[in-house]
């Protein structure tokens, strides 16, 4: 279980996260929705240990992201908006490099496995700069899965993916959840999110303003709720929301 408590993060005078708290249980796929600038990427970067919050703490098992940063980072896999790959290396060389950084056991075998998972084996020995956006995204997903992380953080992971790749990614997420892993998915695509996630959280005003299990949630009701919440601009009105 991952428990983030009272996360606060500002950029200059602009406060992006305002005492946000969030819990992810094993086996959960949580979709994080919110308007542009709501702080979804900031939250993911804080959870990925790429940004340090001014306040707050992230508990993972018996430790926090600050008390044992290496163990914490070992337990997360991250797909951000940029693919974070090296264009002058091949797909396989990229994965080999990251498997050395993550000290993946049996790394050649694991690299083959994740290449198969994202259906890139046939193009694995071509330079990444020759890949399409969708292929780079698939390779980024392979990189995130390489060390078999307990928590997957994904920022708009469907960007650039065709229907087949989207279906592969959804199946990977479901499999991860079935294996007891946690998935946090930032997205604008509420319909897709509702169909694959176990819970939907709406981030607004720097906090989780609304949080509901996805099961039984009707798409129409979800869209209405989303519109109502994101229309509110007075942050103080949101302070009583689920967090």
């Amino acid at each position: 279980m991952i428990r983030a408590i009272n996360l606060t993060k500002s950029f200059g005078n602009r406060r992006i996260l305002r005492g946000l708290s969030l819990t992810l249980e094993a086996g959960e796929i949580v979709a994080l929705a919110g308007v542009n600038g709501a702080g979804k990427t900031t939250l993911l970067r804080v959870l990925a240990d790429l940004l340090r919050p001014e306040l707050g703490v992230i508990h993972y098992g018996q430790f926090t992201s600050r008390s044992q940063p290496l163990a914490y980072r070992r337990s997360i896999g991250v797909v951000l908006h940029a693919p974070m790959l090296y264009g002058n290396l091949t797909g396989r060389e990229n994965l080999r490099f990251f498997s050395r950084l993550y000290r993946v056991a049996n790394h050649e075998e694991r690299v083959r496995q994740v290449l198969d998972l994202v259906d890139l084996r046939a193009r694995a020995d071509e330079l990444v700069r020759t890949y399409s956006r969708g292929m780079q995204q698939r390779l980024a997903i392979a990189r995130a899965l390489l060390h078999d992380p307990a928590l997957l953080l994904m920022d708009e992971p469907f960007t650039g993916l065709d229907q087949r790749s989207t279906a592969v990614l959804i199946s990977l997420m479901r499999q991860s959840a079935a294996d007891g892993k946690m998935v946090l998915l930032a997205t604008h695509d509420l319909e897709n999110a509702a169909s694959i996630s176990t819970r939907i959280d709406i981030l607004h005003g720097g906090k989780i303003a609304w949080s509901q299990p996805a099961a039984g949630l009707k798409p129409g009701k979800l869209m209405t709720t989303y519109s109502e919440i994101t229309r509110q601009t007075d942050v103080s009105r949101l302070d009583g929301g689920a967090a």
């Binding site: 990925a48 240990d49 790429l50 940004l51 340090r52 290496l70 163990a71 980072r73 070992r74 997360i76 991250v78 951000l80 940029a82 693919p83 974070m84 790959l85 090296y86 264009g87 002058n88 290396l89 060389e93 490099f97 990251f98 050395r100 950084l101 993550y102 000290r103 330079l127 990189r143």
Partner: protein, 224 residues
């Protein structure tokens, strides 16, 4: 310690592999360094003795400017392609990024020195090679790269990074360059061994100091 060293060499090999394909950094450094050397050679009509006296200054100025190219590019390429985030996500002490980058920058600068010194010797009809000079080049370039890698990791966070690095770097490396030029001059022309010892000690001290500063500050510098 083993994961740390593994990460340092993983970053080093990754950069070398990418450079082998593009020759983007080393190629630029060599063209720049050879141009500077040729300009110095053909600008002044000096006697062989004078050219030998000027050698240390010319070579260190050339290495210093050529080195700033690799310092800017190796870090800049990570930032441009968001590769830096992927390095920060890795479960290794982040100082490994500093030493991995420093190692690859040092190699580029040593390759540049290995070409620049014989070219200068050839055009000036004077031999500059000695084990002592080699030692000074190793110590001097190491200090320069340790300082430069640290400051380039600071500069890449800012918008005007290409312009900012020389502004930050050159004032800080003045003591190092003075020690390197003086030690090289004594080795090439003869001089007090006590004075040589002092300059060498200063070079070694500078290298140690900036290794320690890198270990202490790199994580803080790259955060956000």
């Amino acid at each position: 310690m083993k994961p740390f060293i593994g990460a340092v060499f993983a970053i080093f090999w990754k950069d070398l592999l990418a450079e082998k394909r593009t020759r983007e950094i080393l190629g630029t450094m060599l063209v720049f360094a050879l141009t500077v050397i040729l300009i110095f050679v053909f600008s002044f009509d000096l006697s062989v003795e004078m050219r030998r006296k000027a050698a240390a200054g010319v070579i260190w100025v050339t290495l210093c400017f050529a080195g700033s190219i690799s310092l800017n590019r190796t870090m800049g390429l990570e930032k441009d392609r968001e590769g830096f985030d992927s390095l920060l996500l890795a479960p290794v002490d982040r100082t490994a990024i500093y030493f991995g980058k420093a190692l690859v920058n040092w190699l580029y600068l040593l390759i540049t020195a290995a070409i620049v010194v014989p070219v200068y010797s050839l055009f000036n009809n004077t031999s500059l090679f000695s084990w002592g000079v080699l030692g000074v080049i190793l110590l001097g370039t190491l200090g320069y790269i340790l300082t430069g890698t640290l400051l380039s990791s600071l500069a890449i966070q800012l918008r005007a990074r290409d312009m900012l690095l020389p502004v930050l770097l050159f004032p800080v490396v003045i003591p190092l360059l003075l020690a390197a030029v003086r030690a090289s001059t004594i080795l090439l022309q003869g001089g007090s061994t006590t004075e040589l010892g002092t300059w060498l000690l200063m070079l070694a001290g500078y290298d140690l100091l900036f290794s320690a500063v890198g270990v202490l500050l790199f994580d803080k510098i790259i955060e956000e």
